[in-house]
């Protein structure tokens, strides 16, 4: 099966906790976030071939990360993860929480050592609708959180801050919700620091001119 992807970063120090890693950013996303252009060049490759390329290029790193806005919207992502698993590298998948079914399969098949869930907005229908255009996503995100609460690998839940709508002010409340669900940690990162968001020219300009400000938590 073909996998559509945007790019490969052969070195990241942040994508996998504590390990130098390579990241492949898959294309496709169910959301239309207000700051995201959704665009950029998309390439495709057979899942197995892409996996080989990643493994061969990973001589100096210890982990591989399958990321992107939502890699699991592509069914072929499972094939890619399957090809990468068990090759002596730590493996992580990033998700927006929109596709719990595929994430569940990933976990059942014991493919990954780590999962990172990016929350696009406070867990509220209206807020999700304002940021992503998909208010109904909240139910899927809750489903994903429930799945992950029993995941025994490395788990990261990160709030993808998007001022002026999703700001740090929402973090205490969000933390409480997550704590009630059994999570003990919430990270936060501005969307422009996350590394995988293709920004619109307007949002890029706003970041450049300081229109978006704020400390990373």
């Amino acid at each position: 099966m073909k996998v559509r992807y945007r790019r490969i970063d052969y070195l990241s120090t942040r994508a996998f906790p504590g390990q130098p890693s390579s990241v492949v950013y898959l294309s496709g996303c169910p959301f239309s976030c207000f700051y995201c252009s959704g665009g950029g060049e998309v390439r495709d490759a057979e899942a197995g071939q892409l996996a080989e390329r990643l493994i061969q290029g990973a001589e100096l790193v210890d982990a591989l990360v399958v990321g992107g806005c939502e890699p699991l919207v592509q069914e072929s992502a499972i094939e890619l993860l399957t090809s990468l698993a068990g090759r002596g590298m730590k493996l992580k998948v990033c998700t927006s929480g929109f596709v719990p079914e595929l994430l569940e399969r990933t976990i059942e098949l014991n493919l990954v050592d780590a999962v990172e869930l990016y929350l696009r907005a406070p867990l509220d229908t209206e807020m999700y609708a304002r940021v992503t255009g998909r208010g109904e996503a909240v139910d899927r995100v809750f489903h994903t959180l429930n799945l992950l609460s029993s995941f025994d690998g490395v788990l990261q839940v990160s709030a993808l801050l998007a001022p002026p709508i999703f700001t740090q002010e929402y973090l205490p409340e969000l933390s409480q919700v997550l704590r009630r669900m059994g999570f003990d940690r919430l990270d936060a990162v501005h969307w422009w620091d996350a590394g995988h968001i293709p920004a619109t020219s307007e949002s890029r300009e706003m970041v450049r001119t300081g229109g978006y400000q704020g400390e990373v938590v």
Partner: protein, 663 residues
Amino acid sequence: MGEAANRVHIVKASGEIEVFNPNMVTSDCQDAGIDFWTAVEVAQEVSKRIKDGASTREIQQETLRVLYAMNPEAAERYKRYHSMYVRTSRNTIEAFDRKKIVESLILETSLPREIAENIAREAEAELRRLKLEFISAPLIREVVNVKLLEHGFEEARASYTRLGMPVYDASLLVEGASRDAEEVHRAMAANVLKEFVLLKVLPLSLADAHMKGDLHIHAIEAFATKASSCVHDLRYYLLSGIRGRKAAVPPPGDALDALLLAVNLLRYGMGSFSTSQCLDYVNVFLAPYLRGLSDAEMSRIARLLLRQISQLGASCDLWVEYGVPRFMSSMEAVLPGGEMDGTTYGEFEEEASSFALAIARAYASGDHLGMPFSSPRLCFRLRDEHWDRHGYSTFLQLAHQAAAAGAEHLFASPRGNELQAGTYTLPADTAVGAAMLQVVTVNLPRIAYQSGGSDRRLFELLEDRVRLALEALMLKKEVIERRVAAKVLPLLDDSYASTPILLGVGYVGLNEMLMAHLGAELHREEALGFARRVLRQMYSLVTQEGEASRRFVLVQQLDENPHRRLARLDHGIFAHRVAVSAERRGGEVRYTPASWVSEDAELPLAKRLEIEGEFHRLCHGGAVSVIPLREQVPDPVPLLKLSRRIAADTQLRFWKYIREVGR
């Protein structure tokens, strides 16, 4: 009364005092067109009237008064002739005197007197035609230079011309907000020296090659005055102190003395080295002075060392080893007071490790305002033998923490039994210091543009350019040896004979050379083989020159960004070809430095470093690979793991991390 008592002294415009000679008045009058007998009569009368201490101006006024009384018409002629004044380069205002042009032409250009007089006469006529009351010394030179060129004396013109800079450029420098006074002075001096080197020191072929962009002569303004860079062997100075014309520091007796000696060494070295200086194994050599100090005292010494060096305003590398490397453990140590009693550096293992840690900690906490140090650059070697040592991980963790935060720390991994002195790779049995006299970088893409696709032509041109670079280096060696003999190079004067000397041939744009010649970039298999041929050819041409202690080496020199200057020049000449081969970013063209893989190449890091590491092996004058970190806040823990992998699994000798957010 004796004859001396009758002498009248006059004061010249320059302030000099000399005995009055009536012939000066006679000559002055004749120059103005007055007949000999009248002139003699006037001189006699003036001699009677002037008093001891009269100025030349007063003598001229007296002459004029005498002339008006004798012959008003002659007086008018004299007045007209002497009404042109010169603002001299000695900051005086003097009456114009053609003879001075004649004498300076003979002195500075070696032209025969007859020709010099002819040129001076024509220049004077030209100047008088302009009817200026005041003329400046530079204006006279400009007019004389035009006359020299009109008569075909091009070489004489090159010797006679002035060096300097346009008033407009000087205004920009002085009024530019970004430079302090010292920087303005340095920039202006550099400008004059650069012109001097291009005009008088380098033969035309080399000056043209630099200006046209076949080559880049690094720090060209210092070509006639200083060596390029140096890795100091600190032991030499700990043993004997610093002995120079302007500085004398005795062998240090304690830690603070030793620290000040190291700093003074760098300060003093600024007079000898134009580009950078380096203190290698600094914590090892200072370890004997630290015995018995508490951790707090050691931290203070480390902080002082960094702060003092940061205030020098010079580019400086400090290499810190964690403890004493095995190859140094049996070296006899220089002890406080310059003593040597058979104690070895191996016996100061603990002090060397603790001080290394103290330096890394002091650097990580920044200057007294908490700001990162811009100088010195800290450099770290990863050695397998150190991994068992307690504290080594903490030490490297601190180094990588600073690197992740933006410090341009340099990391190194010595291969086999190579000896590294700073970024130089030396034979194992040599000293731990060396001096690089000069680096000349070859513009590789231009060779490809000029070879028209022919391999044979490309290698011929490559050989020509390398030989041209070697010619410049040999000339530099002569220049330095003359200055060493004249004892005007502090630090090199005494040690030149015993210091390993390097002369470096650099190169730029291997990637673009391959693109222009083969249509494929360095990381493509079909181009990599050709790249190996090019570098091997250069290596062979360069290393067959010189001798054991005076070695010609390949080097990847990035100071002054030759990859930008040479790309700009090529863009002006070979625009249609450069358009496809040079990177264009934000309106500027630049080549890929040295044998780096293009940063745009989609290549795994391991492959990139494998290619670059292959060429590090050939560059004994230094080669550094740069690993970009494209995250806002890189994590130091994975970074340290990566460094360990680089040291273990690649052939890279030197690397550094740079933060490149937003790409």
